[in-house]
Every structure is written in structure tokens, then in C-alpha cells.
């Protein structure tokens, strides 16, 4: 078991995925609720994103986790379903627009290793919740870890200044434990950095091999 207060790694400057497809679906009706528990970002919505925060719900259902958005208590950008739910193995739920700051970390929280210790982390981060009760009897499924890593790789490809991947427990160690000591952080980190689960992008798969591409020469004429 590892201490979730130490879950943290920085994305390297090399190895950024060119493009990652994310299997996500909007949670039905969530657009009626997230407006009351999200904010316009203080930083540029693309270039200003520096961190992804990994959470676990301390509950056993997607519906239970969604209730905090419905009640305008907190919010997050994605929710990874539990293994007894029909979406498990297929897609993750999108629960708030990436362009908005979701309320997944308290404003006063900061960490010196994350964007120079700036507070108001929500404004420069994205939040992922994984449905898990954080008890011995509720292991994270392989797919949940792969899906979470897939979201991070999608973010890595999309956000040019994304660097920090952190647990909520690291940011707020006195009060938080998520995603919990049963979250296999090392495997998650390996999946993010290795890209083993990344499918070949469609456009790349359909592309003509380089050896078969005709050389374009000045004047618009081609040679074989």
C-alpha cells in the first residue's frame, strides 16, 4: 500500500501524444446543474491548464457522485464508472465543460510543487473522479485505471502546458485521502507515460505510408 498523499508525477517534455481519442459521453441532464458549481477560469482555458487532479468518490455509484453536482456542492470534469455499472468498460462520463473551472479542490489549498504553489487550483486544473468506496473490499478495476490514464493522455495531448498529475490527498493531506491507498498509482503512471493503451489514431492508421508518398516538387509537378 502506498500513501496517497505522495501520489504525484510530472509529465516529461518528451513523449507527448499527438492525439488521443477519449471515449466519453455527457451525463444525461448534467448541463442543467454544472453552471451552479463551476466558474470561468482565471487562466486561459487551453494554455492555462497545468494540472490534473485524481479523486475517488468514497461512494459506490455514479448517481451518488453526480448528486454533489446536482446539489451544487462540488463538481469535476469526468467521472469513471464503477465495475457494476453498465458504462464500465465502454466510456467515461463528462460532467462539466473543460473550459470551466470545476469545484473539486478547495480554494485555499495549494502545494509548492504544483504550479509554484499557487492557490485556487481549480482554475488551472482538471478534475477526474473515480467511483470507488475507498475500502478494502472495493478494488479499482483495471479498466478504471486504464480509463483514468486515458483521460490524462487525452489532456496531455490537448493542453500544451499540462505538467502536474496529482492526487487530491497530496494537495490537501490533512483532510483528504482520495484516491486512496488502493489506487495503483504506479500502474496508472506507467499507463500515462507509456501510452500502452493508446489506440492508433484513425487518421494515422489510414495514412499512406511515407515510402509511397510522391515527392512534391516546385512548380506543382510530381515525380514518382
Amino acid at each position: 500500500m502506498q500513501d496517497p498523499r505522495h501520489y504525484h508525477f510530472d509529465l516529461p517534455s518528451h513523449g507527448r501524444p499527438a492525439r488521443v481519442r477519449l471515449d466519453e459521453e455527457w451525463y444525461p441532464g448534467i448541463d442543467r446543474y454544472y453552471g451552479a458549481c463551476t466558474s470561468a477560469r482565471l487562466y486561459h482555458p487551453l494554455e492555462g491548464v497545468r494540472a490534473v487532479v485524481i479523486h475517488a468518490t468514497a461512494g459506490s455509484s455514479t448517481a451518488g457522485a453526480i448528486s454533489v453536482i446536482r446539489d451544487a456542492r462540488a463538481s469535476f470534469h469526468w467521472l469513471v464508472p464503477d465495475e457494476n455499472e453498465p458504462q464500465h468498460g465502454h466510456f467515461v462520463w463528462a460532467t462539466a465543460p473543460e473550459r470551466l473551472a470545476a469545484w473539486h479542490v478547495r480554494n485555499a489549498v495549494s502545494h509548492p510543487e504544483v504550479f509554484g504553489g499557487r492557490p485556487r487550483i481549480n482554475h488551472f486544473s482538471l478534475g477526474i473522479e473515480v467511483v470507488n468506496a475507498q475500502v478494502d473490499s472495493d478494488a479499482f478495476s483495471d479498466w478504471q485505471i486504464e480509463a483514468t490514464a486515458g483521460i490524462v493522455r487525452y489532456c496531455w495531448a490537448k493542453y500544451p502546458n499540462l505538467r502536474h498529475i496529482v492526487s487530491h490527498a497530496m494537495l490537501d493531506p490533512r483532510r483528504r485521502t482520495d484516491p486512496g491507498e488502493r489506487f495503483p498509482w504506479q500502474r496508472f503512471r506507467d499507463l500515462v507515460l507509456s501510452g500502452a493503451e493508446e489506440p492508433v489514431p484513425d487518421l494515422v492508421a489510414m495514412a499512406t505510408p511515407a515510402a509511397e508518398v510522391r515527392e512534391v516538387v516546385a512548380g506543382g509537378c510530381c515525380t514518382a
Binding site: M1, P4, S39, H55, A56, T57, A58, G59, S60, S61, A63, G64, A65, S67, V68, R73, A74, F76, L79, A101, W103, H104, V105, R106, N107, V109, R120, N122, E129, V131, A133, Q134, V135, D136, R175, R176, T177, D178, G180, E181
Partner: protein
């Protein structure tokens, strides 16, 4: 017994069996014959309440799937009461009032006017906390 449960719940903050803590705590209150002051419950459904315990409110941590309320008893032992958000889960009457009403861009913390104040926990006949009675300063 309660001290050991309190230790377990203290551990829960570090990740040990948080969801079992409430059940164990409730059992402990019954099994040890701890003698909480018996009063008529002010909250709804007084017939449901069989025990009342006075504690001090320490903290609240809101997760997406549950809220963990932290208290300390007269001996200073930590007690955690967990309210699940899962469909069909039992709600604790009055617990919402323990949370700050207007959090700024984050999960709510404890209501400032109730922090470190006495709180009365109402238990049912299985020792489960069914209501929380709080008095602002």
C-alpha cells in the same frame, strides 16, 4: 472499545475502512453500555431515537460519494459519521447544517459557526446516527 473504534476512525482519515467506521462506532455505543444522556429527541421521528450522545464538532470532508463528519467525544477520541450519497442510502437529519452554507469554488467544509461547538448525535436502536442536533454559537 470506543477508544479502539475511535482509533480506527482516526486511521480512516489515513485510509483505513472509513465506511465501516460508522457501523463499528454505532455498535460500540451499544455494546459498551456507554451511557449517553437520555433526552427526548428534538428532531423529527423521536420514536426512532434510542440514544443521544453529546460530542464536539471537529470537521467535515465532502467527497463526491459521501460526506464524512468528524467529532470528538468527552475523552477526546475521534468519531467519524459517514453519510453516503448513494441512492437509497439513509440520510442523517440535520447533518446538512454542519456544512458551510456558501463555499467558494470548492467542496464545502465545516460551518464556521458550528466548528468546535457541542453537537448531539441521535442514534436509532441499532446504534446508527439518524439525526444531528447543532446549536450555533
Amino acid at each position: 472499545m470506543l477508544r479502539s473504534i475511535a482509533a480506527a476512525t482516526l486511521g480512516a482519515r489515513g485510509g483505513v475502512l472509513p465506511l465501516l467506521a460508522l457501523t463499528l462506532l454505532a455498535s460500540a455505543c451499544v455494546a459498551t453500555g456507554r451511557s449517553p444522556a437520555r433526552e427526548e429527541a428534538v428532531s423529527a421521528s423521536p420514536r426512532q431515537v434510542t440514544q443521544i450522545t453529546q460530542v464536539t464538532y471537529v470537521d467535515a470532508v465532502v467527497y463526491a460519494g459521501a460526506t464524512h463528519y468528524y467529532f470528538s467525544d468527552a475523552d477526546g477520541a475521534e468519531i467519524v459519521v459517514i453519510e453516503s450519497n448513494d441512492p437509497g442510502a439513509r440520510k442523517i437529519r440535520g447533518a446538512d447544517r454542519l456544512l458551510e452554507p456558501d463555499p467558494i469554488e470548492g467542496p464545502p467544509g465545516p460551518a464556521p459557526d458550528l466548528l468546535n461547538r457541542p453537537v448531539i448525535l441521535h442514534h436509532d436502536d441499532r446504534g446508527r446516527v439518524v439525526a444531528v442536533q447543532s446549536t450555533p454559537e
